[in-house]
């Protein structure tokens, strides 16, 4: 996946809001259920964050497992270096996606999940092939590792910036004739469309609140950081909880907290505590680095820089364009959701989105964090950056790192580049003021 978002279990800031505690509890419960699956007989489905079919999976009482999340969690817990080394030793190329290698290394080390408890082997690999070529290879590899059945869902790319009827029909047919029968076989339950509709209605409620939270960054100061903080906010909805009451409650709680911050004119909370003066408003393109997540965030916070919008928080679904899961058209809406995830959009659409963010969020510029091992995100970013810069007249910055491979996080280099970038913005501003 795009180095997907996260539901990092390690809380960032020292202070924890109720929403964070709530999310932590949701995760603990979820991973606890997975750890006990051997005794309880609960079945699970491994799948990807972009194009995840959480409501559908849960409508069969199956538990989703997201390998990308496990990988990023491994990185945050300092384990990814060894995991990647183990995979490379086993013959996986240094050139390919580090999420895959981290996941394989984790499996070889006992498949211990983010909460320190073991994860069960997959009962089904739901290969939602959305927005990233690597997904297909990843699950081909896991299929061999686990000898598990695979349900392939090929999601067409929005190459012309739109979804056609043919594309939608193609996905819906695959859902009906391939994915659902496999979910039925694994769960031993019949497809229950009314139950699915009910869950999709819950999804839409949570999505409303998530969008409200993300758009709160239009305020000055922004009450949230929509990149570093954003990865926590997208956690439940991008992973295992969309369509659940838990998710609805979480997003309502979060929204209320953010609303209070807006009323009080407060900025975001960072790992170093409350951000002081908001000096720079930045739109960020690309996934974060997870191995040095706190240090990376601190580089922004130290400069008074706030991410007011990010594309990474759209990898598991773009909702701020008005899309909501629609209970009246359950399979069609799942198809549209899958096709609408950020990395399934063509480059002109990605440029449009970034340009819109710079304008609507009154940002000082756009910053690209280019991920070494992620072609899905990275191929074309240099051109995107120049295009957004020329359309907005705001300076663009560029840094490079990796998702979960600590070898590619050069602290001093990134810090220098960020400082120069912020200086450039400041100079432009003072130049404009003269």
């Amino acid at each position: 996946m795009k180095g997907f978002p996260g539901t990092p279990t390690e809380a960032p800031p020292a202070h924890k809001d109720d929403s964070q505690l709530r999310q932590k509890q949701m995760l603990a419960d979820h991973y606890g259920r997975l750890a006990r699956a051997g005794e309880t007989g609960e079945k699970n489905v491994y799948t990807f964050v972009p194009g995840n079919l959480t409501e559908l999976v849960r409508s069969f009482d199956l538990l989703p497992v997201l390998p990308e999340i496990n990988a990023l969690q491994s990185a945050m817990r300092g384990k990814s270096r060894d995991y990647i080394a183990a995979a490379e030793k086993a013959g996986h190329s240094e050139d390919v996606c580090t999420y895959v290698k981290c996941d394989l290394g984790m499996k070889k080390a006992g498949n211990v999940g983010p909460t320190g408890e073991p994860l069960p082997d997959p009962d089904l690999l739901l290969l939602s092939y959305t927005g990233c070529f690597t997904f297909m290879k990843w699950f081909e590899i896991l299929k061999q590792e686990y000898d598990a059945p695979v349900a392939m869902l090929h999601v067409p790319y929005q190459a012309d910036g739109m979804v056609t009827d043919s594309m939608r029909d193609y996905v819906v047919k695959q859902l009906r004739e391939n994915v659902i029968p496999k979910l039925e076989a694994v769960s031993g339950k019949k497809y229950d469309e009314d139950r699915l509709r009910g869950m999709l209605a819950e999804s839409a409620k949570a999505e409303d609140d998530l969008v409200w939270v993300l758009e709160s960054a239009r305020n000055r100061p922004s009450p949230i950081d929509a990149y570093f903080g954003g990865v926590y906010y997208i956690g439940p909805i991008f992973t295992a909880f969309r369509g659940t009451e838990d998710a609805v409650d979480y997003y309502r709680l979060l929204r209320n907290e953010v609303a209070t911050r807006v009323e009080r004119g407060l900025g975001p909370i960072t790992p170093e505590g409350e951000l002081g003066e908001e000096r720079f408003r930045i739109v960020v393109e690309g996934p974060p680095n997870w191995t040095d997540f706190r240090a990376f965030w601190k580089m922004f916070a130290d400069e008074g820089a706030v991410a007011v919008a990010s594309t990474y928080t759209k990898v598991g679904g773009v909702y701020d364009n008005g899309f909501r899961h629609d209970p009246d058209h359950p399979l069609e809406t799942l198809a549209d959701y899958c096709m609408g995830c950020y990395t399934n959009l063509n480059l002109p659409s990605r440029v449009d989105m970034l340009t819109r963010y710079v304008k609507e969020y009154h940002a000082d510029g756009v910053l690209v964090n280019s991920i070494k091992s992620c072609n899905s995100f990275s191929a074309g970013q240099l051109m995107m950056l120049r295009e957004v810069e020329s359309r907005t007249g705001r300076p663009a910055g560029f840094i490079e790192s990796d998702l979960v491979d600590p070898r590619y996080f050069s602290h001093s280099n990134i810090k220098n580049r960020l400082e120069s970038y912020f200086q450039m913005i400041a100079q432009k501003r003072s130049g404009a003021a003269v």
Partner: protein, 393 residues
């Protein structure tokens, strides 16, 4: 005795291969007034374009002779080389003769390049061909048919002849003939690799990317007849190897020659797969468009870019080794190539299980130094000959 005939046709192919200004395409356009549309690796239905009077032009990057001046500013260092040389060709005017570009869905780099092309060349036809990964005729087949119909409509809107079933049937027949000769040459190389050196077969196939299929047929026939008639070439003590991984960005031509000189007969490979993607004749009776669809669904090669649902991963490679009589496998992939490199460990596991020796290295299309690879391939070939205990002829 007939080496001159071989040299003649190979030299002509080499000229076409080295012409990075696509003069043959320009000439064809001047003469016919037709549309020329480029395509990236690996597969597109060239039959359809041809049936609409369009010259399909395979663009396989810039090789090792193109100077990259602006292309590097479009790509980070950790992305393969072919998109930057392709952008370079677009920016330096070499591809001005093309009325459009097709980008088959084989990886995220090519996919994203389609969007870059849209932004960079807004007046050209740019189409991403989303090949299905579902192989049920009623699901993936329907989707693919619609994609092809759309493509046909877009070509017509740009001035190509409208889709015509009879024209497509004729085109399929012609392409079937060409595919059959290519298969024949591959079979001949397997039996008598000294007669069909891989660097020659490679050039012949590359020529077929830039000339009309009628002309390609002549080239194929001339080359086949010449190598068949040849009495001069004789077997050498070389190891028989299968080379895999080079299906998109192509290795520098010098690398292919280096491998041969290092003691390897390449008896099967992944080069220029568009001529071999469909493994048998496409049906010519009935609805020709549906026949193309079915050929894609049922008769495509097991590329790493396709989802393999039923068969064990790597089994295809094991089968190819057996069919070609190869004694070892060279994994020869472009640096940073997701499909090739993510697939490789699965393929390695399968061939190791089958007891087949292998070695691996990576390249970029513009590499100029082959010493290390030469030594590696030489050692590999020596070890095969040593351990097989017999001369590999």
């Amino acid at each position: 005795m007939t080496t001159e005939r071989i040299d003649e046709v190979v030299q002509r192919a080499e000229q076409l291969f080295r012409d990075l200004e696509f003069r043959s395409v320009r000439k064809w356009k001047d003469e016919t007034g037709g549309l020329a549309v480029g395509y990236m690796p690996i597969y597109i239905p060239t039959e359809l374009l041809h049936a609409q009077g369009v010259l399909a032009v395979g663009i396989l990057g810039g090789g090792d002779e193109l100077e990259i001046i602006r292309g590097d500013a479009y790509y980070q260092s950790y992305i393969c080389h072919i998109p930057r040389s392709t952008i370079e060709l677009g920016l330096n005017g070499a591809l001005d003769c093309l009325d459009g570009m097709l980008f088959p869905a084989i990886c995220d780099v090519i996919r994203n390049l389609s969007g870059m092309w849209k932004m960079q060349f807004p007046d050209k036809l740019v189409r991403y061909l989303d090949v299905p990964q579902d192989f049920d005729p009623e699901i993936g087949g329907r989707f693919w048919r619609f994609e092809l119909e759309e493509l046909a409509r877009e070509l017509t809107a740009r001035g190509a002849r409208p889709y015509d079933a009879e024209a497509l049937r004729e085109s399929i027949t012609l392409h079937n003939r060409n595919r059959a000769i290519v298969r024949e040459l591959y079979a001949l190389r397997q039996r008598e690799p000294w007669k069909v050196p891989t660097h020659e077969l490679y050039l012949i196939q590359r020529a077929g990317l830039v000339i009309p299929p009628e002309e390609f047929e002549q080239v194929l026939v001339e080359y086949r007849d010449a190598v068949r008639a040849d009495q001069v070439r004789t077997p050498k003590d070389q190891a028989r190897v299968l080379l895999t991984g080079s299906f998109c960005e192509q290795p520098p031509f010098g690398l292919i020659k280096t491998l041969e000189r290092s003691g390897c007969y390449i008896v099967d490979d992944d080069f220029v797969q568009v001529h071999r993607w469909i493994v048998r004749d496409v049906e010519t009776t009935g609805d020709p468009l549906q026949n193309l669809v079915m050929a894609f669904l049922e008769d495509s090669i097991e590329s790493p870019t396709r989802y393999i649902a039923e068969r064990a991963k790597g089994q295809d490679l094991v089968d190819r080794v057996a069919a070609s009589g190869a004694e070892g496998v060279l994994f020869c992939a472009p640096s940073f190539c997701d499909p090739a490199l993510l697939d490789q460990p699965m393929a390695v596991a399968a061939i190791e299980k089958a007891g087949i020796p292998w070695t691996a290295f990576k390249y970029a299309e513009n590499n100029g130094q082959f010493q290390v690879i030469r030594e590696q391939a030489g050692t590999f070939s020596d070890s095969i000959k040593l351990w097989s205990g017999e001369v590999a002829v």
